[in-house]
């Protein structure tokens, strides 16, 4: 089990992580979610032993990262957000170097095996700086995988990649989950629902939720919006609309002369016709009606802000 216990981190006066505690079970793929600057990278850096927390402890399968850093680091594969590489080396030379400082033996087979896993066998002889961003990301991932670490800490592994590359890397991560425990930071919600067993959400250094993605997506992405601009509005309308099962909420803005209705409804339902007939029956004049799908990011932002105020 991986235990993060009461970890707090100050950067001079700025509190980046605030009394954060969570556990990860062996074999889980956990999504680490939060807006930019929430403290995800800092937490991963602390877990990887790269930086020390101001207080608190991290234990990786029973090994304390700060008391036994070498032993703990041998259990961890870390892919940093910036994915730094020695770019003058060829892919093969670089992976050899990583094997050597990890103290691995049977280097050739190990490199070949990870190269196959992340599909870089065709670029092994190329100098890293000549590779595309997607390939560099895979080289970074390959280096994290060398030595079959029990825990993989992946900081935004798909950031900056094109959609095809994103799908590729996600599939790789999914397949890695069969053998390793993975903590994966991201601010892309689809990523989480696509690959994770569990989700940890933090915001401004605070833990907000630990949940399974099904529950989370119900909370986060179950809603679409329908925006209507109407004349002759009366408050009855909103109540009738709320009686429709698929509609979760109706917000009303403006005055009776020109009213804006925002109807929140389950994303998979078709409510337009029902809404229209209710409005027409009550003599409301419709000026405009348009669907508005909230981006997942926006919903997430709402949730984290809401949680923050609560």
């Amino acid at each position: 089990m991986i235990e993060v216990k009461n970890v707090t981190k100050y950067y001079s006066n700025l509190k980046a992580v605030n009394d954060l505690s969570f556990n990860i079970q062996k074999g889980e793929i956990v999504g680490f979610l939060g807006p930019n600057g929430a403290g995800k990278s800092t937490t991963l850096k602390i877990m990887s032993g790269l930086i020390r927390p101001s207080s608190g402890s991290v234990s990786i399968f029973g090994v304390d990262v700060f008391l036994n850093p070498i032993e703990a680091k041998a259990k961890i594969g870390y892919l940093s957000e910036k994915n730094p590489l020695y770019e003058d080396y060829s892919v093969e030379e670089y992976l050899k170097f990583i094997c050597r400082i990890k103290g691995l033996s049977a280097i050739k087979q190990k490199i070949q095996s990870v190269a196959n896993k992340v599909f870089i066998s065709n670029v092994m002889a190329k100098t890293i700086k000549t590779l595309s961003k997607g390939y560099k990301q895979r080289v970074g991932l390959a280096s994290a995988l060398l030595g079959n670490p029990e825990l993989l800490l992946l900081d935004e592994p798909t950031v900056g990649l094109d959609p095809n590359q994103i799908v590729d890397i996600r599939n790789v991560i999914k397949s890695l989950g069969e053998t390793s425990t993975i903590l994966l930071s991201t601010h892309i919600l689809q990523e989480v629902s696509a690959i994770c067993d569990k989700v940890i959400i933090i915001n401004e250094g605070n833990l907000i939720a630990i949940d399974e993605p099904e529950n989370l997506s119900r909370r986060l992405s179950g809603e679409n919006r329908l925006i209507l601009t109407v004349k002759n509005y009366n408050p009855d309308v909103a109540n009738s609309l709320k009686n429709i099962d698929a509609i979760s909420n109706v917000e009303v803005e403006g005055d009776q002369d020109l009213t804006k209705l925002i109807v929140f409804f389950q994303s998979e339902s078709e409510i337009q016709n029902e809404v229209l007939s209710i409005l027409l029956n009550r003599g409301v004049k419709i000026i405009e009606m348009k669907p508005d799908t909230l981006s997942l990011e926006t919903i997430f932002q709402k949730l984290t802000k809401g949680q923050d105020n609560a």
Partner: protein, 236 residues
């Protein structure tokens, strides 16, 4: 210990990825070759030619060593590759010693230019082997000290140029500290002289191997490596 060697090898590899290594080798051969030629034809005494050359090389290395030490840590901080090392199962101490060793090997390679001059002297003259041995030991220690000071400077900044300037200032300070001492009397004079790199190197240059000088250089190197690894472990 093997990991130290792999770090050292990586540093050595990196030197030769850029043209600077070749330029340095070329420039050093040119300058030292020119002076060797002058010394041979003007001094005409095989015993003193190598000490003359080493005392000149000491000043040259004062200027060139910042160029091969500035990159050691600052560049890794700038590109972020220091994270690759710091998240691997290897201690800060091993990283620093590896980097020191890599740079020291490069320095040794530069210094190997002088073997050619030594060979020439041994064929046509009769240099004093004791004096020459003392000079080589002294110069390796001096070079190691320069590198260790460069490592400290390089660990303090992400900017290579600042690291180079800082190294040069460190070196200049420890080079000229004896001159500062000459303005004082008694204890202060002894104190300043003790930290003077020239003072300690001069003994070797004269052919004297004194344990005081050996201990001085070695302890400065060890202290600087220790300091660098402490700076590295408090990296944020």
């Amino acid at each position: 210990m093997r990991k130290v060697w792999w770090i050292a090898k990586k540093e050595l590899d990196l030197y030769f990825f850029s043209p600077i290594a070749y330029i340095m080798l070329f420039v050093l051969s040119l300058i030292s070759g020119y002076y060797f030629y002058i010394f041979v034809f003007q001094v005409k005494d095989a015993v003193v030619i190598m000490p003359y050359l080493f005392s000149l090389l000491a000043s040259i290395f004062l200027f060139i060593s910042p160029f091969y030490t500035m990159r050691l840590i600052s560049e890794e901080k700038k590109t972020g590759t220091i994270e690759v090392l710091l998240t691997s199962p290897i201690s800060e101490g091993e990283i620093v010693v590896g980097k020191f060793l890599g740079s020291f090997l490069f320095f040794s390679l530069l210094l190997s230019v002088t073997f050619l001059y030594l060979l020439v002297l041994m064929i046509w003259g009769s240099p004093d082997s004791g004096v020459i041995l003392a000079n080589y030991i002294g110069f390796f220690l001096l070079g190691a000290t320069f590198i260790s000071l460069g490592l400290v400077a390089s660990s303090l900044t992400k900017n290579q140029i600042i690291a180079a300037i800082l190294t040069f200032l460190f070196l200049l300070l420890f080079w000229l500290i004896g001159w500062i001492g000459s303005f004082f009397q008694g204890g202060l004079k002894i104190f300043f002289n003790y930290f003077s790199l020239i003072e300690h190197f001069t003994n070797f240059n004269r052919g004297i191997i004194d344990s005081t000088d050996l201990i001085f250089f070695l302890s400065v190197v060890i202290f600087n490596l220790f300091l660098t690894s402490k700076i590295l472990s408090h990296e944020e």
